[in-house]
Symmetry: C2
């Protein structure tokens, strides 16, 4: 087992990464402050792992609420069903919520914890690669609005993150690929040598090689933990770089209807589009664009947006992105593999060309 | 004009109190950091004051969203209509929300500001006595759930509070009485001399005497500001004392259906019930109970719960109160006029007797 720390003063917390951690109740229990827990999971994950989690929280008064599966359910109605369960089961301010599932479960549970009785504790137990390497760490929580992804939410840090890498054994291939998009992102943003390692090991990761996965998850979480410790609320711009590919990706997710594309698929495609725009601006050379596109393809991720998304639709959807400031869209763009930056200094014509070429 | 300060380090903010302040755009404008504002108001208040507020924010890109009036609309659906307006009008992270109305508008607007794009600025412009003396100060925001009042929300402090006492001229008598419940509360909790002043001046307040109102609002806000600065997130118990009468009151509001009783009416009745329980425990003498009941009546507030609420209904609703800890209900009770405490050390039989006598 590896243990990393997200350093945020009194809100610091550990990330445990290893095989068989769902059978280590001690890890989770030491982070439950009260005498009640509410596990939030979904209809796919609960039949596989809820019984093991129930064992881990035996001794506490513990309940569970099972949500439908999919990004299309990451909304205020599903959030409200968590509140209803908490109230029906008489959970008080001392309760701890436990998110058992992927990114959608984690984001909803985290926001429920941020908002229930104006704030209770929660723990992340991510069971998809995407949630393990990205969304379970860093405290970004929330739900979607029909007009924009992740537009409603809060910064609320978990008490700990328990990553049992065995849960990846039951993950379908499409979800593995989606998770790899976020792994590739860390290499692209600030770690060329990790990107090169991924070029060597992408097939090993796809076939769930344990050692390769442990390394990739640790590298990803360590990268995320460093950035979050430095810029928790995305104020200095450092954390904003983690959104590489996300502005394009969110437009695809919103534009095609939440759930049609997995978040990681949209991010994979979005990174290629960001690379393309960077090249058109003369900031990134064509060889790097080819490296990026090639790795995205080898991870079996789409490198082109759906035909239904034309340039006008992209432009409209991107204009409500959270990174818009005073009417100016800011994007995460690349100077090289391993060197990303936030910029609003790109040419509108170049962006249009990227959107039309895609 | 009087200016008070809520001292919370870098989140400190001023409360401006006086006549004609809606015609002082300088007060509000200096607290708008970006170039956009969204005023949130309701169908009663907007026709009276929105035009004046629009003048105050001219020069900013400014929009407005008008909510239906009443506690029954303080829910996630109405909250979502604020998000929809913000997204449709392309408001970004730099926007400032302005709450123009009573407690319901302020609570919804504050929670919308806490949650929109994970947090934007907001300003309180309270137009009811209740909002001016209580809910606009201190950063408690949120909405109701059918199973419990204020169960969904956040702590999110405003950038400033602008109290134009002229807005009370258009307030209906029932709303004035409701506001006086919270004013009486400050005297009861920690200021016997203010309570005595209220006994002298309650009729002057009821007839909207300007000097009496200015004094009562300043005393109330100063009391609230001191408590919030000392215990922003209700951790030490000091802030919890501000909930005197509220656990009984919330049960009445939820039990009768939000909107049937005004919040202040329920709090008025709840304070009398808290006094009754305190007397049954031998902590408060009968003379003080009579003083309290008498002042509540003179403010034309109910001193008995509705006939539809029996003891079992109260007990069930009170068991989900936010002040429940580890299954134990905590109540704010009285040792004297001007001396409140938080306690779970009351007798269950005495509570039952209070609920049955009422």
């Amino acid at each position: 087992m590896d243990t990393l720390t997200v350093s945020l003063g009194e809100r610091s917390y550990p990330i445990y990464i290893g095989s068989g951690l769902l059978s280590r109740p001690d890890l989770l229990r030491q982070h439950v402050a009260g005498d009640q827990t509410m596990t939030v999971s979904n209809e796919i994950v609960a039949p596989l792992y809820l019984a093991r989690l129930d064992e881990a929280v035996s001794g506490f008064r513990h309940d569970a609420v099972i949500l439908p599966d999919g990004e299309q359910f990451k909304n205020l109605d599903t959030l409200n069903s968590v509140f209803t369960a908490l109230l029906e089961k008489r959970h008080d301010r001392g309760t701890t919520l436990v998110a058992l599932g992927g990114g959608v479960v984690g984001d909803i549970t985290g926001f429920a914890a941020a908002s229930y009785q104006r704030g209770v504790d929660f723990i992340q137990v991510p069971t998809t690669l995407l949630a393990q390497v990205d969304s379970s760490v860093g405290g970004k929580t929330g739900v979607n609005h029909p007009l924009g992804k992740n537009m409603i939410g809060a910064f609320h840090q978990p008490r700990c993150v328990v990553i049992d890498t065995d849960t990846l054994d039951t993950l379908e291939d499409r979800q593995m690929s989606a998770g790899l998009a976020e792994v590739i992102k860390y290499g692209l943003i600030e770690d060329e040598s990790f990107f090169a390692w991924l070029e060597e090991n992408i097939e090993a990761l796809m076939r769930r090689d344990k050692d390769a996965l442990q390394y990739a998850i640790c590298e990803s979480c360590a990268s995320k933990a460093r950035v979050v410790a430095d810029d928790e609320r995305e104020r200095s711009g450092r954390r904003a770089r983690l959104n590489l590919g996300h502005t394009f990706g969110h437009a695809i997710e919103t534009g095609t209807g939440y759930g049609a594309w997995l978040h990681g698929e949209a991010v994979g495609c979005g990174m290629v589009m960001a690379a393309d725009l960077s090249r058109r601006m003369g900031w990134l050379d064509a060889g790097d664009v080819a490296r990026i596109r090639n790795l995205v393809r080898r991870a079996r991720l789409p490198d082109e947006p759906p035909a239904s998304m034309d340039a006008d639709r992209f432009t409209s959807l991107m204009s409500v992105d959270k990174k818009v400031q005073r009417g100016r869209l800011r994007l995460v763009l690349l100077r090289a593999v391993g060197d990303a930056m936030v910029s609003d200094d790109f040419d509108a014509g170049a962006l249009r060309a990227t959107l039309e070429a895609a």
